[in-house]
Symmetry: C2
Subunit: 339 residues, 2 copies
């Protein structure tokens, strides 16, 4: 099969006439027993740095569920290492040593040297070998999301320090965001060269910004990144966690697909983004219900939509580690059976 | 002055012709040096349980900034103690012993006996003595927000366990939410009897729900609570942290005022809630900029609004502990000077 003719790629361009394609954010992950087996042997960081293992875990959910797209296995923070950040992944979540606290700390960082991330691009080439017929999505974190971790030094409820930094040091904040945007551009461009068929920018934390800050620190850098990828001719997906307050701003971001979080009415998102495909948006917590409950929720969601040619089904956020497998299967089955 | 004629109360009913009233969520708190002085002597819990000290800290921001409303000092979780929960407030945030994990755990709880919260109502009477001319706002947490803590046992990034519980045990979840709604009703009604001039329901965590769950677990119990308070004749304020995805649902909740978080376009909220007053919504992180920056941001926000007779100025979320005092003063001054 030519990948351009896959339902996933066609849906990205709003031209899918086959059944609705489906994949799951964090589909290669801890909810899968076969993934947990791999992780018994290696740490998260070792896994991210071993191309053969990357390909192995990327293939696991495809083998189990025949999903319509695969996604690179990596962490959004790995690209910060060649920028000068020191990252570790202990049990409680990622840590960055010496978080950014002042404008001078921003000057310590340098543009991402993609040559220092060979394991990512080798990983992509390995995946393409073992999954030649499945569209592969590359990805990166949005500049603001990366900045959140660089400033906070770790995960946080509201990234208050990061938000305060934007207002305390607006010039340094813009400098940091631009540096990150150009690094993300280089990183995604190299992923395309290595063979990915689409790219997704994860704006996981833009949804904690005011509209004005969203424009400056999320939409503008996303526009810069997506413009730089225009000539790669792969579809560009922008996942916005908490899209609703900013949807009119996102409408102008140059991308083919908008990933919609589980809070927003998906039909409304489709109506307000007439020129884009949408991806989403079942609430991951629904999967903690029975398979019958999951099937019904999936069908109800699909029934609310007036057109399906520009829809990629997904959860509205990453799948949770303790999600029961049988509910995942019920959801995928309901999408595949939907007419 | 008759409190009914205060700009705050008039604005609640959309009939304010004076200058725009202003108060700040968490205005009695750690950003104030005089509050930190009090906290050197007593723990948070002791403070919450000592009526004289409650009145003292409630009065502090009014004395310093001449704000247009005072708010009871308490914690949303204190009302869970007389329901059978064991709560503590160590440094890292509140903890609840024996979190709810099964439907049987829900049955361990009982309706809130408001007689076991004398310090709250005595606190209100003390406040009215020392601040007879300032409208006083009573408050409670929304049932879903309280359920989040009861299930998770502590604060959390996304309250994934709480969300999973709704889908795993929908009957127990509804039972828990109804029990909490009736307890909140009794608690707020008693606050009105003790003398508060308005009530605010803090839906701090409803904004992590899908629309369907928001309807069931946030809007329906809020409606139940506000209906029970209808005859108290005090204005009812519903603060929704992340209003945008649910605004059409919130429109039908019976309350006089909707508190709008900092993410949503405030003019849009006013337009979509034509029969309600709105309260909000400057981003608290703006206050980390210079006083000039704060003044400009406050004025710009006010200039976007087409009518001011149903506006109560506030931040779009609680003020942060490290906020510089001079920026708070600049914001309040900009609101008071605005014509």
């Amino acid at each position: 099969m030519v990948l351009k003719d896959s339902s996933f790629i066609k849906a990205c361009y709003g031209k899918n006439e086959d059944r609705i394609p489906v994949w799951i954010m964090r589909q290669a992950g801890r909810y899968l027993p076969e993934y947990r087996e791999v992780r018994k042997e290696v740490s998260f960081m070792e896994l991210c740095k071993t191309p053969e293992l990357i390909a192995k875990v990327v293939k696991q959910p495809i083998d189990r569920f025949s999903l319509d797209a695969a996604i690179l296995f990596s962490d959004i923070l790995t690209m910060l290492e060649p920028m000068g950040a020191e990252i570790s992944f202990p049990e409680g979540g990622p840590k960055i040593a010496h978080p950014i606290a002042t404008p001078e700390d921003v000057d310590r960082l340098h543009p991402c040297d993609v040559n220092k991330l060979p394991y990512v691009f080798d990983g992509i080439r390995h995946i393409k070998k073992v999954l030649p017929n499945t569209p592969l999505i590359g990805f990166a974190g949005s500049p603001f999301t990366l900045a959140c971790y660089l400033i906070e030094g770790q995960g946080s409820k509201n990234f208050d320090k990061a938000k305060a930094f934007l207002h305390r040091y607006p010039d340094a904040a813009r400098k940091l965001i631009t540096l990150l945007a150009d690094s993300v551009s280089a990183y995604l461009s190299e992923q395309v060269k290595a063979g990915v068929d689409a790219v997704q920018l994860f704006d996981s934390w833009g949804g904690i910004l005011s509209r004005e800050d969203y424009r400056t620190y999320s939409a503008e850098p996303a526009t810069r990144i997506f413009n730089s990828l225009k000539n790669t001719n792969v579809p560009r997906i922008f996942f916005v966690n908490n899209l609703s307050p900013y949807i009119d701003i996102v409408r102008d971001v140059p991308c083919e697909v908008v990933g919609v979080d589980y809070r927003m009415d998906l039909q409304k998102a489709m109506a307000e983004l007439p020129d884009k495909a949408v991806q989403g948006n079942l609430d991951p917590s629904v999967l903690f219900g029975s398979p019958a409950h999951v099937r019904e929720a999936t069908q109800s969601l699909l029934k609310t939509l007036s057109n399906h040619d520009r829809l990629i089904f997904n959860l509205g956020h990453g799948i949770q580690p303790k999600t029961p497998i049988e509910s995942v299967a019920a959801m995928i089955d309901a999408v595949k059976q939907f007419r």
